[in-house]
């Protein structure tokens, strides 16, 4: 009896193992996929994550569930994703901060995001915008730089926090144009924008959705966008590159990555579904609201892009001496 039972179990195990791998790969995905977002619910990244997750759900016929964890600059979510099974059921929203900035900024990042993950695709890039209060006499980036150069240490800029995209983009401008300005970090863009509106800050570089309403109502004056090309959301606005610093380029970007070792065919399925989703008529306009334009490159291109970004920001961070701890 006992013998019979164990034979049965053994047989079942053999059958299961025979079926397991090929069938799983063919039927992927056959359960819910979770998307770890290293930012708090409600922010710009979260909005993009949810919109694209919905698009992928429609493509793959399996629910993509967003899990937010914005603690420790997103490092916790990144670590959690890196430790997950590389079976295609865990994805990470791979952004500038956690992927290429934090390792240079924090001492206690326990993983190297560039080697712990396999890139899937760069979803979208969004420009940041340079804004000044409505009553500021400054009308162009050129003038802003000239005034800052004339009086070192006099001009104050706000940012969404130490090491945020908004801070780094301004640092890059300061380094490119060799400026000495005072940085006032805030907890998020919101309170910094209040002080900018009240005229207590001279200027700020921030995401388009965070200030679009104020630009629209004339309470803030936009000077330029940070990307190498103009944005559709504010088509009349020049780029910083056009304004006299041709090498200047900074953007907030959003991508997907999966734990290292995920089978290539699964990565391909995810990439194809993502590319189809970000170009679908439901998703494109919602990305546009965030000021983001869809990219959808190959995993190799995304990997090369991240490597280049990592090297670039490492230098900016090192020069500015803003490394934490």
């Amino acid at each position: 009896m006992l013998r019979k039972k164990s034979t049965f179990i053994a047989a079942a195990a053999v059958v299961a193992s025979v079926f397991a791998s090929p069938v799983l790969a063919q039927t992927y995905p056959n359960k819910t996929i979770r998307l770890l977002v290293p930012y708090a619910a409600g922010g710009g990244t979260d909005a993009i994550a949810r919109v694209v997750a919905q698009g992928i759900t429609a493509q793959l016929g399996q629910q993509v569930v967003v899990e937010n964890n914005g603690s420790a600059g997103g490092n916790l979510a990144t670590q959690q994703a890196a430790k997950s099974d590389p079976d295609g059921y865990t994805m990470l929203m791979a952004n500038q901060g956690p992927m290429v900035v934090n390792p240079h900024l924090f001492k206690n990042v326990k993983i190297d995001p560039l080697t712990a993950f396999d890139p899937v695709t760069l979803i979208a890039e969004a420009p940041l915008v340079v804004v000044v209060p409505e009553n500021s006499h400054i009308t162009s980036v050129k003038q802003l730089v000239e005034e800052a150069a004339k009086a070192p240490g006099k001009m104050t800029y706000g940012s969404a926090g130490n090491g945020s995209a908004s801070h780094l983009a301004t640092l890059l401008l300061a380094e490119t144009a060799n400026l000495d300005m005072v940085h006032a970090p805030y907890k998020g863009a919101g309170p910094a924008i209040t002080d900018l509106l009240g005229g207590r800050l001279d200027f700020m570089v921030t995401t388009i959705p965070s200030v679009f309403g104020f630009i629209d109502s004339g309470k803030l004056k936009p000077l330029a966008v940070t990307t190498s090309h103009r944005t559709k959301r504010l088509p009349d606005l020049p780029t910083i590159a056009e304004s006299g610093w041709p090498n200047y380029q900074a953007a907030a970007w959003y991508g997907f990555a999966v734990p290292k070792g995920t089978p290539p065919e699964i990565i391909k399925t995810l990439r194809d579904a993502t590319v189809a989703a970000i170009n679908s008529p439901e998703v494109v306009p919602r990305l546009a609201i965030e000021g983001a334009e869809p990219v959808g490159n190959t995993p190799e291109e995304f990997a090369a892009f991240m490597k280049q970004e990592s090297a670039r920001w490492a230098e900016v961070i090192k020069k500015a001496g803003i490394g934490l701890d």
Partner: protein, 499 residues
Amino acid sequence: MELLGDLGLGFATALSPFNLLYCFIGVALGTAVGVLPGLGPIATIAMLLPITFGLPPVSSLIMLAGIYYGAQYGGSTTAILINLPGESSSVVTAIDGYQMAKKGRAGPALATAALGSFFAGTVATVLLAIAAPPLAEVALEFGPAEYFSLMVLGLVASVALASGSLLKAFTMIVMGLLLGLVGSDVETGTQRFTFDMPEMADGLNFVALSMGVFGLGEILRNLEHEHTRSVMVKHVSGLMLSKADLKRIAGPVLRGTGLGSVLGILPGGGAMLASFAAYSMEKRLSSNRAEFGKGAIEGVAAPESANNAGAQTSFIPMLTLGIPSNPVMALMIGAMIIQGITPGPNVVTDEPELFWGMIASMWVGNLLLVLLNLPLIGLWIRMLTIPYHLLFPAIIAFCCIGAFSVNNSTFDVFMMALFGLVGYALIKLDFEPAPLLLGFVLGPMLEENLRRAMLLSRGDATVFVTQPLSLGLLLVSLGLLTAVLLPNIRSKREEAFSE
């Protein structure tokens, strides 16, 4: 005339069957989470955020707003009936509300809370409609120096209004300030007291701390005595207020509404600060001062009006400037962005249906809440009469979900458990946990704004007294501090607090 047209559009939007349904769901849910201790509107709204994606923007925001002000009503029921604030802004309601219930006056206490809230809600709705844009300009005048002085006032006020020993209240505030220091320094990003744990890099979780100290601490205490917790009154009668009662609450309701409306608009304010401030003000102004702490109806009317007014007027900076004055508003902004609406001054003009629909829905929601909370009070009491051995595991489970859902972090759940023990110890040692929480919230803001003001003024400390708003706030704080420390007022204060 234009205002009437706008409000007409608002009511047409709010009263459409679909939106009315979501308004009802919002306020009913809000009352439920308000009644249940431990689970607050922040955790609820955060948990419901994903559900709102599929809804039209107006309906989802109407529902989320309903949860917030609905919780202000529900919270008072628990505070009055079992001396356990269902919601943080009902902490002070428990002081006199529970005493009233003990004396068999639970009905009038509940009616006062509901009617006071309704009156305040109506006033705040009108205020929101008329004054939203101009009042938002006042908030814009608040720079770091003004914020700093406001926080000083907040801290001084919280010592002044704490009951019991001044020394103990002061100790609690300092402890709160110290706990608030944990996390990354905003200026430099340096980690403080985090023991190299990334879970603590953003500081201690507010939800975990408050649920632990208030919710779990209270539950632990209650578990000590098996039979002490009981709903004072199983069948509340006498919901109608007598003429004498109405006369007594008229002043406190008016003053509470006024103070709450102002504190709600100011960033960092909102329902909780409003209720504390209103209670302490009433205690100084009332002619029935001696009755405070022993079941004064004024002590229920003032904070309950204030917290509801504050909850609603905190929508003003959010809707007109896109600036969150408290965590709930931050969540609302998130909900709007997800829906493709950029919060800011353009909402009023670009999305009139949303703006006015939400305002109108608040009044409709307040009306629904009075109906929900008075005739149906029995239902909520039933919820509280669920035996301990069934209720506590449920509350603890809700608390755990709430603490977990903020960051999807189990660390926060353990943190909450730890603070539960801290809360229990504090209760046993006769320390009030409310000042601790205020210190915890105001401390980091105080530091951040102090350093930011100094940064912007390039190290010139006179900035706090050369700015008229800041100077005014500091003078008020000084006055309050002197008043508390003056020997004769101090003895009176102790008299007032001793039971």
